[in-house]
């Protein structure tokens, strides 16, 4: 059921630019589907001169879709590659392919793009900013702007590979993510020591001698309380599934109580 491919590099570039409508269309039912449809519409129009076929394909793109927006171009590019070859008969395959790929890629994309990159550039930028130097901001911007080119090019990469995407890069992507996690964990370890701050104001008076508990704690290990705080937060969020917003509120309330009783000091 193969037909002649009609999409050109120019069409794919255009779709890539239209994808920059991004996550603004996010809704709770179909998530990023409207953005996906908006992105590919000119390509679909070119592939289907017939309005009935265009309608079928458009509605196919309006079905539930969500992945990390920075690697989504790869998924949609590959989907276009399959559809440009198979036409309307391939619509079910296209949807299955998108759904199958978006989950794993979202996991990788969220970890690297949303967790790791802001952590690394954010901590470098923040430590510079604390000294009054705004340079870190531009370092971060330079990276995201450079990566914009990668986001645009992914449509072509995905389109050219089509179904082969999964087999070709499966292992590489997993290993790459794992290696990135090692970098991330090292940085997070240092951030727990430097960024999280917690001190106790408890003192013991024994006769004439006043003992500061914080001094004793520092003698055991530097940054012991921050480590304990992160461990407790991690326990509640990862094991007890406490929501982020509740966790934040709980911390603010605990800090007020700590400040009022003198258990914690600023």
């Amino acid at each position: 059921m193969s037909k002649e491919k009609v999409l050109t590099k120019k069409d794919l570039r255009r779709a890539a630019r239209r994808w920059l409508i991004g996550i603004s269309t996010f809704n709770y039912e179909t998530q990023l589907a409207p953005s996906a449809f908006f992105s590919v519409y000119p390509c679909l129009r070119k592939m289907y001169p017939n309005d009935e076929d265009l309608k079928k394909s458009s509605l196919n793109y309006m079905r539930y879709y969500n992945t990390m927006p920075w690697i989504s171009p790869f998924v949609i590019g590959a989907a276009l590659g399959i559809e440009d070859e198979g036409g309307v008969e391939s619509l079910d395959a296209v949807n299955d392919f998108k759904v199958g790929l978006m989950g794993p890629l979202a996991g990788i994309g969220d970890t690297i793009g949303w967790a790791m990159i802001p952590t690394i550039f954010g901590s470098i930028g923040a430590s510079m900013a604390m000294q009054g130097n705004p340079l870190g901001i531009f370092l971060w911007l330079a990276f995201t702007i450079a990566f914009l080119a990668v986001r645009i090019l992914q449509y072509e990469w995905g389109y050219n590979m089509g179904v082969n995407v999964i087999t070709k890069f499966g292992k590489q992507i997993t290993v790459f993510t794992e290696a990135c996690s090692v970098l991330g964990l090292t940085v997070v370890g240092s951030l727990i020591a430097t960024v999280v701050k917690l001190k106790t104001g408890i003192t013991f008076t024994n006769g004439d001698v006043t003992m500061e508990v914080q001094g004793l704690i520092d003698g055991v290990m530097p940054q012991l309380l921050p480590v304990a705080a992160v461990a407790i937060i991690y326990f509640f969020m990862a094991k007890k599934k406490v929501k982020m917003t509740w966790m934040i509120l709980f911390i603010i309330i605990a800090s007020w109580i700590g400040a009022a009783t003198g258990i914690f000091t600023a």
């Binding site: 458009s58 927006p69 802001p118 996690s181 090292t186 370890g189 727990i192 603010i252 400040a259 600023a266």
Partner: protein
């Protein structure tokens, strides 16, 4: 210090552009630093803006909106806190007292907007079914235009009503209230760290967490140096894992460079 009308407009514009960028281009997504700094430039105190932006950046570290979830709007907290700190002269604590609650409440605007997008989406599908493709595309274009209001409106309200209000509130505020917020500011980055750890293979690679901690806590190595150590470890693990597996990989290396 009183804000001029132009300053208020510029500050609101920063909030609008920040949100619009976060949901479209994402050039400065999660970049709380830039929000504090730009606001600082507008109110004539970039130093304070940078400092508050950095504090908020650290607070929000790792707190990410994944898979369409909503997160506290820390960038607008930085914008509001910088404005309040500069106009009242009461320092960062005063800014935090207004900025943080608004950032928490800001989540609700995001949720409401995503529900609104749901209405648009049903309209779009109906139009496609009628064959009115161009109209459907036009409805989609509404989403990016108004999303920025989710940040712009709370910021506008705060910078107009905030400064005079803050001084009144601060007079009544007990010491534990502001001290508590400062303490919370120190602990809140822990939420981000915990979230990061939830996404990472902690059980498998906890040793690198320890390496980072020791380098920072005992040896005071700056974060850039620690990132370099982490990069070296990451490269070695990538290399050994790729060699350990099948030898068939290696022909196409496009993704390695990312």
């Amino acid at each position: 210090m009183e804000l001029s009308v132009i300053q208020i407009i510029l500050i609101t514009l920063i909030a609008y552009l920040k949100m619009t960028d976060t949901v479209t281009l994402q050039i400065a997504a999660f970049n709380t630093l830039i929000c504090g700094w730009l606001t600082g430039l507008v109110v004539g105190d970039p130093e304070t803006g940078l400092y508050i932006g950095a504090t908020m950046q650290l607070m929000s570290m790792g707190v990410v909106a994944v898979g369409g979830s909503s997160m506290p709007d820390y960038p607008i907290a930085a914008i509001i806190a910088t404005t309040i700190a500069a106009t009242t002269g009461q320092g960062m604590e005063a800014g935090l007292a207004i900025g943080l609650p608004v950032a928490m409440l800001g989540v609700n605007f995001d949720v409401i907007y995503k529900i609104f997008n749901g209405f648009l989406m049903r309209k779009e599908i109906a139009l496609i079914e009628e064959g009115k493709f161009q109209s459907a595309l036009n409805v989609i274009k509404i989403s990016p235009v108004f999303y920025g209001l989710c940040s712009a409106i709370p910021v506008l309200v705060c910078v107009v009503a905030g400064p005079s209000l803050v001084n009144t509130i601060l007079d009544f505020m007990p010491a534990w209230f502001t001290t508590g917020l400062t303490i919370a500011g120190g602990v809140l980055p822990g939420v981000g760290m915990a979230m990061l750890l939830m996404y990472m293979p902690v059980n498998k690679y906890w040793s690198f967490l320890l390496v980072g901690f020791v380098l920072a806590a005992y040896l005071s190595v700056p974060v850039l140096g620690i990132a370099a150590v982490g990069l070296a470890a990451a490269y070695e693990i990538y290399k050994s894992k790729m060699n350990a597996g099948t030898a068939s990989v290696g022909a196409a290396g496009g993704l390695e460079d990312e």
